[in-house]
Symmetry: C2
Subunit: 188 residues, 2 copies
């Protein structure tokens, strides 16, 4: 089995997502996931702490990634422009081309209180990291917190619109339009 | 004891807050709370499901209150103006004059993962209610979600600034200035 090792993590993830969708998150056991993936439970626990982490492991790096994106942005760029550029980069790199998978992911998370809770924590951790990133650029606490929360809001609202859209608009473009909508709405 | 009944809830709440601050949330038992309040555990459980609910019971009505505020606003008022008016009304009615108590409350919640989680759920429930309120006024899903999340962000960021301020500025005024800061920041 050694030669399959590099794919083990992704095979386990795929098997878990399929089973969560087919029979529900609560009813799916780790042995059922490993049986579907053709791997051992020992291999499972080498990659994930528990079945819940299969759903959130991919996003563990997002806070650090966001903070790095802010740290590495050119000195001259304004904070709101930085948010917009950053969100569009994340949209292209992390979301585009994975619409069905993300739709499925959200449907699974919505079924379980513990998963929804974990989702809220993830969101709060991301906002905290973005706030840290902006304070490191010299913004005061209020501005940094406003930008961080607004960035996360723009991403979540844009992803919801993207998943619900009947057309094939890119998330990138939706993010830009959501940002414009927010600015216009705050003037009403 | 019957003649004390009308004050029982508030006495239990005060006793619990004192003990949480003195010895920590985890170390405080319901019997310790009732002993401090001079009431029975039976009375405690008539008012609160558990010691965690002592900290969150007062805010259980906030989502419904926010939704009502939006429903009852004059037809002609713009959605952003409605958010600002609503937040200022909440600041005056629910926060002003309770600075020390709210500061203490936040310090307790920050010490415990379960309490922080409950705080995130509370925040999400409030945003969902505000979003419902705006959709009921005919706003599309994107605008309603943006306004709801922005309203909650403005309130949380303003309260943090209010608690940290060395002066005695009113939360009402801080909300107004935070709103202006957000609008200005989104133009950068």
């Amino acid at each position: 089995m050694a030669r399959w090792q590099p794919d083990a993590r992704e095979r386990l993830r795929q098997a878990a997502l399929e089973l969560f969708a087919e029979q529900g998150f609560a009813a799916t056991t780790v042995p059922a996931i490993t049986a579907r993936a053709g791997l051992t439970t020992r291999t499972f626990f080498r990659h994930f702490a528990d079945k819940r982490e299969v759903l959130f492991a991919g996003e563990a790096e997002l806070p650090a990634y966001a903070e790095r994106l802010i740290a590495e942005a050119p000195a001259g760029i304004g904070p709101a422009a930085l948010v917009l550029d950053g969100l569009r980069a994340v949209a292209r790199a992390q979301f585009e081309g994975r619409k069905e998978e993300i739709r499925q992911w959200r449907a699974i998370v919505a079924t379980d209180a513990g998963l929804r809770e974990r989702g809220l924590q993830k969101r709060a951790a991301l906002a905290a990291a973005i706030g840290d990133g902006f304070r490191a650029r010299g913004l005061d606490a209020t501005r940094a917190a406003l930008l961080a929360e607004t960035a996360v809001t723009l991403m979540y609202v844009s992803v919801a619109a993207w998943l619900e859209a009947g057309d094939d608009r890119k998330l990138d473009a939706i993010v830009e339009s959501t940002f414009a909508t927010l600015r216009a709405t705050l003037d009403t």
